[in-house]
Symmetry: C2
DNA sequence: TGTATGTTTGAGAGCGCTCTCAGGAGGAGG
DNA sequence: CCTCCTCCTGAGAGCGCTCTCAAACATACA
């Protein structure tokens, strides 16, 4: 059983360099190539990635960095879906995937990532406006693609959805069904998604000439903050609530119910994400569908493209979203 | 900025070998060690893992193999919890984690894993009685720890829970509250968990002298099979149903409700896993709590121990489970 | 036939690290 | 003062691969 290139070289009667060329697609005569391939066939040779990395600086291994609190990762299927999308693409075109989660400090994680030298590039979830880990990766010479964070610096590669536009769309939907006192429960402040969704809401309201003075309540993307936020907004007599994600919308729904009010007759309700449970709420939730799996797979494609052609400039992908209208805003749909 | 050991050697006026000793804890005089450490301090040197791997055969990187259908991974928080547990332990004591999911064929995955040569060892989820991927890993010279699969071959290292004993326990609980026609909806056949939980059920029933002839229905661990299995068992006039996991129990609950029967008065209901939603069902579900996070972390510890002392024989860990009694078997708990 | 051009191949120098081996320094014992 | 031991340290040989360079050979054209 051949273990090294030299073994293969001896077995096939050519030099190590030639075997390397065959394996890596270099210029070799057809006859030689065939002979070497035959030898390789019968020998289950596997190139040593460490050696290859040392010699060429490339391994084919890609890093995926999701520096979130493990509990969040644990609860929120968002990250699992993202990982799923990334891994689907990498399975075909990369030789492996290293995963970096949030169980160390950001500084420590950054150091380890940069230190291993085993990865050709990384994909990193960038939820916050400011993030030392993301900044550190961008500042390093490790090719990096961001998920969910469009940096203002214009040199980073990223994959994101148009949070502002989508929020504007769903807010406009609430306006079009005749609501005028539309409250908003924001996402966690300091996150891109939270800030951008707020911006979209404000843009739509302003364009329609509607007031927002007392209609914005701060949430944190978790269900309880939707419940408490809903109570506050109901006190202020809203006729619709747009929550920055579905989890908070389910909390808000509970607050509406608790007052004996009905959705959507008394209060229309809208969320963001279209996670699986959104369709199963009672009534089913109108929301914005963002393809999380696609965000993962597109970010992997972007990174691979970046690795293949580093000179091509940053890759910037803005994925489309879709307004999903269900009974929480329009009542019983006529069939 | 020092990039290599030679740089550090030059800066601190010693040889490369000595710097290597300082970094790896070899025998060095206190004075030299201090001097070298000072140089390292100010220079954010990071050892190159590829080079280290090539020279020593070790990288500190561990592989985690979860060859499940992505949809399953996506839906079932079991795997995320497992990963969480593994990563918590590896964060401290390993220099990285490679993740291998089920988006390739088992053969292809096996080849890639064995081929990279970048991992010191792997942790692999082994759900099925037969699994070519698991067999291949065990047959290779890569140190391997199994999760959830106690092989009969007695040479493998593994972490598992006592499925048989736990099933016996919860079945016995149903017997003790006076039920006699206790149905069982099995897990997917061919899985260790499915078969072992069935065995435990049978053992408890036999010991109590109860018949099981028409009381066993085949399920597949998913909710719909719990619903349909529940309907079949209700036709056969059971007074209790033990489902091989919580997801199926929630389906079975729905089938009981659909007939206007009440839990636990007419039919007592029990599950297995104690996933978060189990406590939130109406009524809350009696079940077996198995620490999934602990399974992950223990398997990581077992692997690290195996790597540190390969001669110590296989590591075998059987984690405890806990019977969690809620209202689905005992009605309203007196306070 | 001679020169220019192109194709295919091998030799060999690393990539950055670990680890063995042997030499030097210093102390203990005769 | 010499020998023996112990403790530290440096030299140097790899680990398995990639990649440059130049040699060898083939082909084309004048």
């Amino acid at each position: 059983m051949a273990r090294t290139l030299d073994d293969l070289a001896e077995l096939s009667g050519v030099s190590r360099a030639t075997v390397s060329r065959v394996i890596n697609g270099g210029p070799v005569s057809a006859a030689t190539r065939r002979r070497v391939l035959e030898v390789i066939e019968g020998t289950n040779y596997r190139p040593n990635l460490a050696a290859r990395s040392l010699a060429s600086g490339r391994t084919g291994v890609v890093g995926v960095v999701m520096h979130v609190d493990p509990p969040l990762l644990f609860e929120d299927s968002y990250f699992v879906a993202l990982l799923h999308g990334v891994s689907d693409v990498l399975a075909d075109r990369a030789s492996g995937m290293m995963l970096w989660l949030g169980n160390r400090s950001k500084e420590e994680t950054l150091n380890r990532i940069l230190g291993t030298g085993l990865m050709d590039g990384v994909i990193v979830t960038a939820d916050n406006l400011d993030d030392a880990l993301v900044d550190g990766l961008l500042a390093s010479d490790l090719p990096t693609v961001l998920i969910g964070h469009r940096r203002s610096d214009l040199t980073a590669s990223y994959v994101d959805v148009d949070n502002v536009g989508a929020s504007d769309t769903i807010t406009t939907h609430l306006i079009e069904i005749g609501r005028t006192r539309i409250g908003h429960i924001t996402g966690r402040r300091g996150t891109v998604a939270g800030e951008d969704r707020l911006s979209g809401y404000l843009r739509a309201m302003r364009r329609a000439g509607l007031k927002t003075d007392d209609l914005i309540v701060e949430g944190d993307f978790n269900r309880p903050s939707g419940l408490s936020g809903g109570e506050i907004l109901l006190d202020r007599e809203v006729d619709a609530i747009f929550c920055a994600n579905d989890a908070m919308a389910s909390g808000a729904l509970q607050s509406v119910r608790a007052r004996g009010l009905s959705v959507p007759e008394d209060v229309a309700l809208a969320g963001f994400d279209d996670l699986p449970f959104a369709a199963e709420l009672d009534p089913p939730l109108s929301t914005i569908r963002q393809g999380v799996h696609a965000q993962g797979s597109e970010s992997a494609k972007a990174l691979l493209s970046l690795l293949q052609n580093p000179e091509g400039g940053p890759r910037r992908v803005l994925l489309p979203t879709e307004l999903v209208i269900r009974q929480s805003t329009v009542g019983v749909l006529s069939g």
